[in-house]
Symmetry: C2
Subunit: 205 residues, 2 copies
Amino acid sequence: MIEERVDEGTPAGGQRERIVHATGKLFRDKGYYGASMADIGRAVGLEKGSLYSHITAKHEVLRELAERGAALFLDGVAPIAASGDPTPLRLRAALRVHLRVVAHDSDLATVFLQEWRHLDEDARCGIVRSRDRYELLWRDMVRDGVRDGAFGADTDVEAAVLLFLSAGNWAYQWFDPSGTLTPDEVADRFSALILRGLGQRDGDE
Amino acid sequence: MIEERVDEGTPAGGQRERIVHATGKLFRDKGYYGASMADIGRAVGLEKGSLYSHITAKHEVLRELAERGAALFLDGVAPIAASGDPTPLRLRAALRVHLRVVAHDSDLATVFLQEWRHLDEDARCGIVRSRDRYELLWRDMVRDGVRDGAFGADTDVEAAVLLFLSAGNWAYQWFDPSGTLTPDEVADRFSALILRGLGQRDGDE
DNA sequence: CCTACCGATCGGTAGG
DNA sequence: CCTACCGATCGGTAGG
C-alpha cells in the first residue's frame, strides 16, 4: 500500500513520496493548519500549485500520514502480542517497538497521536478504529498476564493499559533522538517500573 | 491575577473574561490556527472586530491561557509538595490535583500542554520555564522518597517522574468528565500502580 | 511543473 | 460595539 507505483500522468513515485514525507515533518512541527501548501512546496523545491500533480488535497495527505502512523504501531506490536512469549516479555517488547516508532518516525507518530483530530468525519472514524484495535492488543496482553498468573488477580487492567500507553504516547512530546537514552532504554525503564507494580500481589493470593 | 479588574477604557471585566473563556474552549477543540477570530466572536455573540476592544491580539489570549494553565498546575501541586506528609501520600495527592485540572479545566490544561508551541519565542520560553519548575516539584518529591527510604535506593528517579507526568498529561486526550470514573479515582489507580512499582526494593538492600 | 489566477478567509484597524 | 475595510494569505484550479 505504501510501495512505489507509477500512475499515468503522475511523475515517478519518488517525488510524491518526498512530498508526503516533507508534509509529515511540517505537520509535526507546525500543526495541520499551521503548515501551508506554500510551506510544503518550499520544503521540496516546488511551487504550491505544482504539488497538486502529486496529491489531490491537503487533507488527503493528512489522512495518508495518519494511516501510515497507525500501521506502524499496529504492525509493529501485533506480532509481538501474538507470540507465545511470557507476558511481561511481550509487554516490554511492545513498549520498545512503540517508543522506536515515536523516536524514529516522530512525524507519523505525531500525526497519528495528535493531528488526526483535524481529519474529516470519515477518516477520523477510521483512525479511531485503529486506535481501538491497538489498545485492544495491549489490553489482551495485560489480561493474559492476569490469567497466567504473572500479575496479581486483583490487577487493575484498565489502569495498567492506560499507564503503558500514556508512557508511550506522551514520549512524542519530550523524547530527544539525539539525547543520551535510546528508545529501547527508555522503554525498558518504564517497563521495569510498571511491571514491578503489576507483579506484586496484594497479599490475598 | 485572574481576579476581575476594570481598566480605564475597557468595559466591565466580565465581558473580557467571557471572551477569554470561550477562546480557551475553541483553542482546545479546534487548535490555535483552527479557531478563527470570527469563531470566537460567534461564541460570545460579537463581531470579530469588536473583540479588539477587550483583547489586543489573538496570540496574547493564547499566552494568557497558557499562563493560567501553568498556574493551575503549579499552584495546585506546590503546597502539596511542600507539606510534611509522607512522600507516597504527597505524590498521590499531587496526581489527584493534576487530574482534577485536566478534568475540570481541560481548556487551560490543553493550551498549557498542547497549544503553547504556537506561542512566539518570548512567551514560549516563559511556559517552558513553568514546565521545568513543575517537573522539579515532582522530581524533588520522588528524590525525597528515595532519601527517606519509602522507595528503594536503586529507584529510577527520572523514569518515575516521567511516568507520573505521562499518566497525568496524556489524560487530556482521553479523560471523559461525564464518564464513570472521577479524576481522583483515576489518579489513585495510577498512583497505586506506580507507587507499588517504586516501593519494592531490588533485593540488594 | 510554473504562472496566473479564483473566491474565501485570515488577523487586525479605522472611524464613528 | 458595528460596519467597512486593509493587505496578506489560504487551499485549490486552469491553461499551457
